[in-house]
Subunit: 994 residues, 2 copies
């Protein structure tokens, strides 16, 4: 292993990095070494590489876990500014480590880094070597609350992992550290003893005192304007906090306070450092970025129509951005072209992780010329009584540099103006395209954008090259520092990674010749087919339906799909399948292989990118999966030894939210709300609910769920069942986490549904109450999902119609308030509105008529009911009786002023039409059993005719006030009879005869 | 600079070292990294190399001092066990750094390492590159109170210094750290800011709390049997202590307590680590040392006498051991040969730092045979009445395997025995020499001895080779793992560093042919001549007399003297000459060059070892001296800005001894004692004394003296004079530190002498009182020197005869007691006895007759008086009158029983001889003015004859009790009259006529 450290050191010093030593106080990551976290600030250039033994007390495992160490070795590189080719430099460093990058599958998989606590974030990837994460690669965008200019590239190698892979060992202790000595021999005792210190023996009171002392010392150093010792003490603070945490000694409140304090200090340190460097006159000078490219001023003539190829070459895009960007860029090109007069054929776009390819058919050689009338003053004001041009007309003519006599007259919108007709000459295709394509690049944007070594461009990942060809001719496009040419890049490991493109035509075939499948559709098909063929060889298949999302993602992780079948030991099949598939899908992007019956087989399909040594890549991926399954088995066995009640005690250590307390607090509130809401359940369901509520969320404290959070609920069911809980309780615990996502199924069981509702009501009310409602795109707690979940659950469980939104939210509010947190009534209303909006959106997304949706929204407090009504409405389509009823009711509503009480003295009603209506109304009221639409219609249809007659015959606004009051009271009574059913006005004219 | 770190890393990993990272908490030296301080314990092998940024808060200088940093970079190597050739491996590592070891003068200069606090020590060297200390090289012998087996080799490179020399820059900030970035650019801000923290801004109360917390945590970890985290916390403790110290916040008491605590913890950590490794079964295995050599059993025959050459090859011996060992080994060879019957010529020995060469002339080819009578029973018991052998005789004969009839008779001491004559065959020379020389090696010992990679041998430095030749034949000598041969080693940088020796004859010439001057005398002469010749070229000379000690040392630092003349800027001559010469002599072993008048010239002579590039070596040495003078100038200027009183306040920060307090406490006691002792001085002297006493020792707090402790007193004089103190005060302050060593001059001035006495009385009484009296060879406070100093001063100042030992010690005791420390009367007596013994030794060493010395010892309380008496005695040599007086007085003393009171009734004396004696006695008493010998003799000589007559005529032991009492009283009166003069009995027969 030490050879690897030496090789990396040499590699990066050869590339101009300076070497510094690991920091001489405990740090959790190389990023925290001042050589990174301070030096990335400000304009000075900085290139550095160093080893950093990173101390993570929480990862202490006495040296027993094969992959987890309280101190692991990072190799950290900072390139500031971005050198323009950091990925290529990085890949070459792997070769320096002895990794054959041609044989292996090396990929850049989206992984962004953010430390909101210190106002720091960056975009980048984790780098995979045959599925093993070996490096974190980040373009640092912000640190300490300050935007970084220039941006730094941070490369962090996980040395032990790389070496374990290279040496083919499965426990870190077996790493050959140096000739004749293993990692375990060299560091095993320290690993054990420091684990003891961090997990069992560090004195809590002492560490708390140390934390205070360090924090105060940091404070004092800031006041003395000394960022270096201040930072040192922030690090000491942070490590001490980690020690306390691993000793289980940090309450939620303390954690929040500590974080707030460290965050404040860290931000001040950054600001002070930047300030001091400025005062020192930036001793290392200023970073230089590539200059802006020279904007083309002259353009060659094109004579024949030709196809256009425009390729934006990027570093690996996040999968969802591949799809999104292709569409967005296609649209941008199309609409910008549409704004010109250049004639062209279809605009189509394809995309891979590394390129967006826009092709436009038959682009005309030039724009046609165009005439344009430049409008002057009105004709009436242009000439005086003598017909001579007025001052206004003269002024206009002068401005247009024409003789006033040359003014034309044109009528526009019925007014006659003077003016002049001008001819706009058409531009050549190259000039037009140069402008259009340049703008497209300059205006590129994604969901999350970043900067790199370009002063102006911004996108989800760096743009590294542009190809713009009209036929076989380069279109002179520039965008900031970039200039388009005819050179594209194929696989990084190809013999010739940069290749010239002769001509626009047939570009997809050209790429295919280099192994690259530009079309997402084709790639997806190839992946599915290859995966199925491979699965078939072991008697299995791939469930394309179930894995659709994953397949989409895989499609956008590769340019040249190369599916590989791997296997794992059958013994792991003893684990719950969710564990196995979760690991495969979420962590590794492997497609699970199943029998036709859906039974999991001990195989998977990994999709590598491009040609590689299949055996090596298979072996690598299998080893990664084995390690992960080994970990999971370890957690599984460890968790099974702990009874759910005991495990649940661990929730106290898991923070939920600063004010709302720990996960234990939250679980208690959820149980209490569930108790309230479950009042009407059957005895059986009730007892299931009580038991499940008592255990609610216990699995969050399991090692498995801490490691694989998406298994919350799944593990609860497994562990509960295996510890002897009734199956119904286990299912309820599983159900309470459903639905997990918008596509997921709601709870199947009633107790599970009640728990799931309680969970979400608590979450919504609690977080809104403490001011953590979602804003814009920020929804860190997933409240939109929670709201949607409430609706889904209530829609799925009409039997729980007693549990209205209002009741649920009020119950949740009671228990949040019991914790001493204020929940204002407006807040509750706000939450309800928030949920209803989600419901509305769900219904609209499902394709319901927006008027029908609007009509049932007042019923959204009980979504099952609302939905029944909606269905009923939809079934009434074309029902003329119903349409007539609707119209009649809408008439009633329209005529009755708001505030009119539904009361009248029948004695005042003497006209036949009003007497008849009164009579029908009394009957209808009697006939009406529920406020459900079907029943209402049944009872109320008889009112349609009398209402219409009433309006025909009767002048409601009688001059006799009492008569008028009685007539309005009659109508208001009808109105209020109909009101609970739905919002009749909202139906609008949806039932009106076409 | 980073290239150097990489080069060293590569070099040592290529030699099987593993690389570890710097420790991730602040350490003061690479030694403290557990990879050294713990791993050297126990039997497991360990080879490691690492960079260690070493944090020394006390060295913080805001980055302003060109050579001093709060964090400097060490490169640390541990080789365990000693590989047998660590020096050669080290030298090759310098080549790896790009140092041309053939061009430069690289030397290993004795420098031992000890950390008594933790029970750790080792022997070794500092390595010099052209006079610059670049590396510490130590054979670790003990750590944490445990003897190390095997011994580890520790090599610590001072990286900044090496790089400054290699790059030829004079400020660390100017080091080119990496391409395009200097050390100052990379680390300058941190250097400044951390200096601020350590010197000005760290919060003292916080740091004190941290110290406690760390110490307690270390304690707890020990109790939990976790040496690794325990060690971590000891290091944190230690760093925090250093921070407190550099903040000036550690009182003497606190320092003592803190050290005691850290020491205790550190020792426990070591013990626990060793214990735990044993419990773990020594996971890295057991170190292997070379096996014992096969002891020769057969020896070839030698036929002709031949010269013997025996060379013991070592690593660089300490200079004084070169001389000592040569003599000791010569004596050992001679005496061991004398115990054999092998005839041989003279035994002579020569030595250099790397070899002791013993040559023996004309060694006979064999021992002669020898006859030996084996004695049996007495003849009288050997034969029975019939003349037949008794059982005793038979038994003896059987034992001797002879027939009883063959028994011989021999008379011994007048008794006749039976027995048998046996012939001991002489052994061949090779057999004899093999035994003798093997023993010599096995029994090698020095003042301080060490172990290396040999299981049994022990010496001041490792023995690495043996050459033993009798004529041209190898003598088969073995000693532990070593076997003698004919291969010697010449200069390490010679083209062929190991060369065979053909024959014993002419070996010194053979060595000379390889540039090595084996004879110390010849080397010394060469050095003096070369130095003088060089000095003459710049109009100067070398004061051989004054530099004798230094020349002796230089002689034993080189094998092949190569004197080089260097110069320095004349501007430094403005500094006091003592500073310049102290730096030259003590730090650099350079010979100062002076004019014939003794005035210092801006030149020096350095003596390199062997051939080198003179210009390079000169430039290197000049640069080192320049840096040191630059430092000194810096201190000088800084010190001059501080008034002596202000400076003196700094003594509070300097610890003297745990119980006796700080140097400020000591200075106060010294001033008080001086006040007591100076009561009788003249007004002028008294006022000088008072002022000097008030400033006593202030210069110990100066930067100069802290750096160059031997300048204490010298700087006091300089700084006092320049701050406007009277010259007399300045001189007194200078004087009070004299004599510094046994050869040094005592104070010249009376106030200085009084202060110097007070200083030493306080030291003696104080340290004896707290139990720090010297034991065996251990005298850490130099009390023997202090005692000798008292005597020298009193001898030099007869005018101060009122200041007796007794008075001085009592005064000192008063002031020590005033500090609450018990000083028992026995202790005072013990101290006085201790001083008197030193006096006795001085007198004997000066060649005085031991009887005369003994005679005046009772007067030692006032050494000047004692010495006058001694001189008087010596002048009386051959004075027959005096001899007669002595004899008479001795007779008197002999006859008078102890306890006889000097009283008698003259009326009882009636015999003429007794009456006459009484009469003469009365006259002599009247005539005696002082008890000084001269006066006594003048008055008492007249008693000689009456005494003799008295003894001739009178029987003292009269039967009449009263008469007897009167006669004894008379004699007792004479005895007591003579007693204060000297111890007459002690004179013995020294005056007896021959």
């Amino acid at each position: 292993m030490q050879d690897a450290l030496i090789a990396l050191t040499k590699y990066w010093t050869d590339r101009g990095c300076m070497i510094v030593q690991p920091f001489n106080t405990e740090v959790g990551a190389g990023t925290l070494n001042p050589a990174t976290i301070l030096r990335v600030l400000g304009p000075e250039p900085w290139r550095v590489a160093y080893v950093e033994p990173s101390v993570r007390p929480d990862d202490a495992r006495y040296g027993e876990n094969p992959n987890r160490l309280q101190t692991h070795t990072q190799f950290q590189v900072i390139l500031k500014p971005d050198p323009g080719d950091p990925q290529e430099q990085y890949l070459a460093s792997l070769e320096a480590l002895g990794i054959d990058i041609h044989a292996h599958d090396i990929r850049f998989v989206e992984d962004n880094w953010a430390n909101p606590a210190t106002g720091s974030w960056g975009l980048g990837w984790e780098v995979w070597l045959d599925g093993l994460e070996i490096t974190q690669f980040t373009y640092f965008q912000q640190a300490g609350g300050m935007s970084l200019d220039p941006v730094s590239v941070e490369v962090t190698y996980g040395v032990e992992r790389i070496i374990m892979a290279l040496q083919g060992v499965s426990h870190f202790k077996d790493i050959q550290y140096a000739p004749g000595i293993t990692y375990g021999e060299a560091f095993g005792q320290a690993e054990y003893e420091m684990s003891r210190f961090y997990l069992d023996d560090a004195d809590v009171e002492t560490q708390k005192r140390l934390f205070e002392d360090y924090a105060n010392e940091a404070r004092r150093m800031l006041d003395a304007r000394l960022p270096v010792p201040a930072h040192l003490h922030v690090l000491k603070c942070s490590h001490t906090f980690n020690v306390l945490d691993s000793r289980g000694a940090v309450s939620t409140t303390e954690r929040a306070k500590a974080f707030a304090r460290m965050r404040g200090l860290a931000r001040e340190v950054s600001a002070l450092w930047a300030e001091r460097r400025e005062e020192l006159g930036h001793p290392l000078g200023m970073s230089e970025l590539p200059p802006a490219a020279e904007v083309p001023a002259e353009f060659a003539e094109v004579t024949e129509p030709a196809p256009l190829l425009f390729e934006i070459g990027t570093e690996e895009l996040p999968p969802h951005e591949v799809t999104r960007s292709a569409a967005a860029i296609r649209d941008a090109v199309a609409s910008k072209l549409a704004a010109t007069r250049l004639d062209h054929g279809d605009v189509v776009a394809d995309a891979t992780p590394r390129r967006i390819v826009v092709r436009v058919g038959r682009v005309a050689p030039r724009e046609p010329d165009a005439e344009r009338f430049v409008r002057g003053p009105r004709a009436s004001a242009a000439f005086d009584a003598e017909g001579a041009p007025t001052k206004a007309a003269q002024g206009f003519a002068r401005g247009q540099k024409i003789d006033p006599a040359a003014l034309e007259r044109v009528e526009q919108d019925g007014v006659e103006y003077v003016g002049v007709t001008r001819t706009d000459l058409g531009r050549g295709a190259l000039e037009v395209l140069s402008g259009v394509l340049g703008e497209v690049v300059t205006e590129l944007r994604a969901d999350k954008n970043m900067r790199w070594n370009d002063r102006k461009l911004s996108f989800t990942r760096p743009v590294r090259w542009l190809v713009a060809l009209l036929g076989d001719r380069v279109v002179p496009v520039t965008a900031s520092s970039m200039t388009a040419g005819r050179e594209t890049r194929v696989h990084r490991t190809a013999a010739q990674p940069v290749v010239p493109v002769e001509t626009a035509a047939g570009y997809l075939d050209f790429l295919a010749g280099h192994g690259i499948v530009a079309s997402m559709t084709v790639r997806r098909e190839q992946i599915v087919k290859a995966a199925r063929d491979l699965a078939a060889t072991v008697g299995g298949t791939i469930d394309e339906q179930a894995e659709a999302g994953l397949i989409d993602e895989i499609t956008n992780l590769v340019e040249a799909p190369n599916a590989i079948l791997g296997g794992f030991s059958e013994t792991y099949l003893e684990l719950p399948q969710e564990i196995l598939t979760t690991v495969m899908r979420k962590h590794q992007r492997y497609l699970p292989v199943r029998t036709a019956d859906g039974e999991l087989l001990p195989h998977f399909v990994a999709v590598a990118n491009g040609a590689c040594d299949q055996d090596a890549v298979r072996a690598g991926n299998e080893a990664v999966l084995r390690a992960r399954y080994e970990d999971a088995s370890f957690f599984w066995r460890a968790d099974l030894k702990v009874a759910p009640e005991i495990m649940k005690a661990g929730l106290r250590r898991l923070a939920f939210e600063e004010k709302l307390g720990s996960m234990a607090d939250r679980a208690a509130r959820v149980a209490a709300v569930a108790g309230d809401l479950g009042a009407e359940l059957s005895t059986t369901d009730r007892s299931t609910l009580d038991r499940a509520a008592a255990l609610a969320k216990f699995d969050l404290a399991s090692q498995m769920v801490i490691e694989l959070t998406s298994l919350a609920g799944v593990m609860a069911r497994e562990y509960a069942a295996r510890s002897g809980e009734p199956q119904a309780v286990a299912e309820a615990l599983f159900d309470m986490e459903r639905p997990r996502s918008s596509g997921d199924r709601p709870p199947a069981t009633v107790p599970g549904a009640v728990l799931a509702l309680a969970d979400r009501f608590d979450m919504l009310v609690g977080l809104f109450a403490v001011g953590a409602a979602p804003t814009g795109s920020s929804d860190p707690f997933g409240l939109r999902r929670a709201a949607a979940g409430v609706i889904s659950i209530l829609r799925a469980h009409p039997a729980l119609s007693d549990i209205t939104l209002g009741r649920g939210l009020r119950s949740a509010a009671d228990h949040v308030r019991a914790q001493g947190i204020e929940v204002r009534e407006e807040t509750l209303a706000e939450v309800e509105e928030f949920v209803v909006r989600r419901y509305e959106q769900q219904l609209l997304d499902a394709g319901h008529d927006h008027r029908h949706v609007a009509a049932v929204l007042p019923l959204a407090g009980a979504p099952a009911g609302a939905e029944a009504t909606l269905r009923e409405i939809e079934q009434r389509a074309g029902d003329s009786e119903f349409a007539a009823l609707v119209t009649a009711l809408q008439r009633v509503r329209r005529i009755v002023p708001a505030g009119t009480r539904p009361e009248y003295d029948p004695a005042r009603l003497v006209e036949p039409a009003e007497v008849a209506l009164h009579g029908e109304l009394v009957k209808a009221k009697d006939a009406m059993a529920t406020s459900a639409l079907a029943g209402f219609v049944l009872a109320a249809t008889s009112l349609t005719a009398p209402i219409n007659t009433f309006f025909d015959d009767i002048l409601v606004m009688s001059e006799d006030a009492e008569v008028r009051a009685a007539r309005l009271g009659l109508l208001a009574t009808i109105r209020d009879l109909a009101a609970p059913v739905l919002d009749w006005q909202a139906l609008g004219t949806s039932f009106a005869a076409d």
